[in-house]
């Protein structure tokens, strides 16, 4: 993102501006006007669906079945938080949010620790077959979740992990592992050799080096990973759908509302908005890290 920022404002632009007479600058701005307008329209269009959901969640139940959310713009007095109040009075949604939080935070923490340890081993510990094993692990990115569903379903049933928060957490950790190890190992490999070497010469144990040096230095990549995994698992549906029944994260809670009633928008809309408000807030707060993590995985 920062690279793109640099080119947008950029040295090139400033040089041109210094030499250009005012009239030419205006002409260039006007030349860009169609682009500005087009992008502005696109941006508004992109926001409309989410904004529409928000307004829908503010509509009283009677009004929802008759009119669209845009009517609320001309009749703002009709807006009400009643739907949200009803939602929070109802235990099932608050419980679902708490379950989601447990799953998302739990699996992210475990994943970060386990993956960081393995990534460090691949980056800086020497052992036979290291590079081959690394390639195999990254290769596991190939495996779609569907392939694991049936066997793990049977496994969970026989080990009592079915319909538990722990079962869901462990599954998410496992499937986040290949990407996490890939991301962190590449970052750790970039740590200057000298820092680690001098620590080793000083007699520090590997564990100590890991906790005191590597983790702090790796914080940017770890943060990206954590945010990415948190968002990914907060938003998950298929895993919870397969391995849970009464253990319901928020996605499942909304899904069962959708399936059972389909038309009680006054419940579905606010619940959906709340469920997306958390990842949205996390995203907005950390969007720089999020994008970095994404780019690390896609374009090297």
């Amino acid at each position: 993102m920062s690279a793109a920022e640099a080119t947008v404002g950029g040295p090139g632009g400033q040089r041109r501006g210094a030499r250009e007479p005012r009239a030419a600058a205006v002409v260039r701005f006007l030349g860009r006007l169609p682009v500005q307008i087009f992008l502005a329209v696109v941006a508004v269009l992109w926001l409309v669906p989410t904004f529409g959901l928000f307004l829908t969640s503010l509509m009283p139940a009677g009004l929802i079945s008759r009119e669209g959310w845009w009517k609320l713009i001309s009749k703002p007095s009709e807006a009400t938080f009643e739907n949200y109040r009803a939602l929070f009075n109802d235990d099932s949604i608050t419980k679902a949010l708490w379950t989601t939080a447990q799953i998302a935070v739990g699996n992210t923490v475990i994943l970060v620790v386990v993956a960081a340890m393995a990534a460090y081993a691949f980056a800086w510990l020497r052992f036979p077959g290291r590079d081959t094993l690394f390639i195999i692990i990254v290769g596991l990115l190939v495996v779609p979740i569907q392939v694991a569903l049936i066997p793990i379903f049977s496994l969970y049933n026989s080990t009592g992990l079915f319909d538990t928060v722990l079962g869901l957490i462990l599954f998410h950790v496992a499937f986040g592992m290949p990407f996490a190890i890939f991301l962190l190992r590449n970052f750790f490999a970039g740590i200057p050799k000298e820092i680690l070497e001098s620590a080793r010469i000083d007699g520090a144990s590997e564990l100590r080096i890991f906790f005191r040096l590597v983790l702090p230095l790796g914080l940017p990549a770890i943060a990206s990973l954590a945010i990415f995994q948190f968002l990914w698992t907060w938003n998950d549906l298929i895993v919870a759908l397969t391995f849970g029944r009464d253990t319901q994260p928020i996605t499942i809670a909304i899904f069962s509302q959708l399936r059972q009633f389909g038309s009680n928008i006054e419940v579905i809309a606010p619940a959906s908005f709340i469920s997306l408000a958390v990842p949205l807030a996390v995203f907005l707060a950390f969007q720089r890290y999020f994008v970095q993590g994404l780019l690390a995985g896609s374009v090297k």
């Binding site: 793109a4 404002g9 992008l39 510990l125 392939v147 890991f210 995203f283 994008v291």
Partner: protein, 444 residues
């Protein structure tokens, strides 16, 4: 220093235990990850592939039977067809839109804000995105945002009618809703036209209808009324009576003696209309067929025919931001000097774009494109949330079919494993393509 020297001096006993300790440490670092990967990924993969060769109960070996079902069962074939459609349409759209946005935002100062807005749907779950579009795609244009927008555009081009049917109440008014009703009585300026309709369900009467007005003659004008000529329990047809409502918004035509339409007017809430300042002559009035044109009832986005495009639109809304961000990063890596040199040499923006930017972006574009193919092969959540229960079969995709086969209804683990394995096989070549790209890019 002394400790270091000691560790380096070869002493058989401590050198051996040192190596053993090192391997132990390595083991500690690696073991948890390997356990997770082995139990939750490697083992299930092997199990699933093997399981796909057995029947529903898992006891009888059936060879390739499940795979045969995969390609012959109606539901599953439909799912495969849908995925093929997805692959043909979505990656191209997403990549193209991402490219356009990435290129355009280069020229604008508020690029970052724009990127955040367009990228934001990726933070929302695919499921929530589906819910959003499920609500927006509702058929009723009064409630579904998409249809409301279409209605606005359509009404500007094709006026919508007021009523769906009606019959003439007097013999002088001839015609039908399809062709319109013509009042056969010739009229001269200063005369009035009475055009009454019956067989209109009360529920269809527009809300703003008022008591029909008996038209008053005006010199030089032809005035008239279009009204619902019906009084419960009797009443005289062809006469405006109290309790009978005018039909507002009806389109009335004024035709000359040759039958050509010379003027048009719309009736007011009391059904009254007037054509002023007329040249002397003989005219006829008619209720235009437009009055009976079908109002726009909304496109059935969530119905069986359009459900897949509807889900695709929601999906593109989510993923265009991803493509844009990745391509923008690739774009910013292209050296400005190359582009500037081309511009100085006299190349137009279009030439710079097509001859230099796009070819240099080719690796990034293909990574995005291939990633989208992989994602689209696995599409699941968004189909579940956009498509109502009645359209699930028409919106079916492989990942969804697998889930339903294994975990709902039939509970056929054998067939489900086969579908999962099939999905796996489909995904592999694209992933290998991407991996090859990465390694070429990274130079490893």
């Amino acid at each position: 220093m002394a400790a270091g020297a000691e560790a380096q001096a070869p002493r058989p006993a401590s050198a051996g235990s040192l190596r053993w300790r090192r391997h132990l440490v390595t083991g500690v670092f690696l073991a948890p990850a390997l356990v997770f990967l082995g139990v939750w990924i490697v083992y299930p993969t092997i199990r699933t592939v093997i399981r796909s060769f057995y029947d529903r109960e898992g006891s009888t070996f059936v060879g390739l039977d499940n795979y045969e079902t995969l390609f012959t069962s109606d539901t599953l074939v439909k799912a495969i067809e849908n995925n093929a459609l997805w692959i043909a349409v979505v990656p191209a759209f997403v990549t193209a839109i991402g490219l356009i946005f990435a290129v355009l935002t280069e020229r604008v100062r508020w690029a970052v804000a724009f990127k955040i807005v367009v990228f934001m749907p990726m933070a929302i779950s695919m499921f929530a995105a589906g819910v959003i579009w499920h609500i927006m795609d509702e058929k009723n244009p009064d409630r579904g945002a998409v249809n409301a927008a279409i209605k606005v555009v359509r009404d500007a081009v094709v006026p919508s009618g007021v009523l769906s049917r009606g019959d003439a109440s007097t013999p002088e008014l001839t015609g039908s809703p399809n062709r319109g009703f013509v009042l056969q009585t010739p009229l001269r300026p200063g005369e009035t036209a009475l055009m009454g309709l019956t067989a209109i369900p009360p529920a269809e009467m527009p809300e703003d209808a008022e008591q029909a007005a008996t038209p008053r003659p005006r010199p030089g004008a032809i005035t008239g009324v279009v009204w619902r000529d019906f009084r419960p329990g009797g009443g005289r047809p062809g006469v405006v009576e109290p309790g009978e409502q005018g039909i507002p918004g009806a389109t009335v035509e004024l035709r000359d003696s040759g039958g050509q339409v010379v003027k048009e007017a719309k009736t007011g809430p009391d059904g009254a209309f007037a054509f002023e300042d007329l040249d002397p002559g003989s005219y006829r009035t008619a209720i235009s067929a437009d009055t009976f044109a079908e109002p726009f009832t909304g496109v059935s986005w969530l119905g069986p025919k359009l459900i897949t495009p509807a889900v695709m639109i929601a999906y593109i809304w989510v993923w265009a931001g991803f493509a844009m961000v990745v391509i923008a990063a690739g774009l910013s890596a292209i050296e400005r000097e190359v582009l500037e040199a081309a511009r100085t040499d006299g190349a137009t923006e279009r030439q710079v774009f097509w001859r230099i930017t796009v070819p240099m972006l080719a690796p990034v574009l293909s990574v995005v494109f291939i990633t989208m193919i992989i994602n689209v092969l696995k599409v699941f959540d968004i189909v579940l949330s956009v498509a109502p229960g009645s359209s699930q079969d028409d919106a079916n995709v492989i990942a969804l079919a697998m889930w339903r086969t294994a975990f709902s209804g039939v509970n056929d683990f054998g067939l489900g494993s086969a579908i999962a394995t099939f999905l796996f096989i489909l995904v592999i070549p694209f992933l290998l393509l991407n991996v090859r790209r990465f390694r070429r890019e990274a130079g490893t």
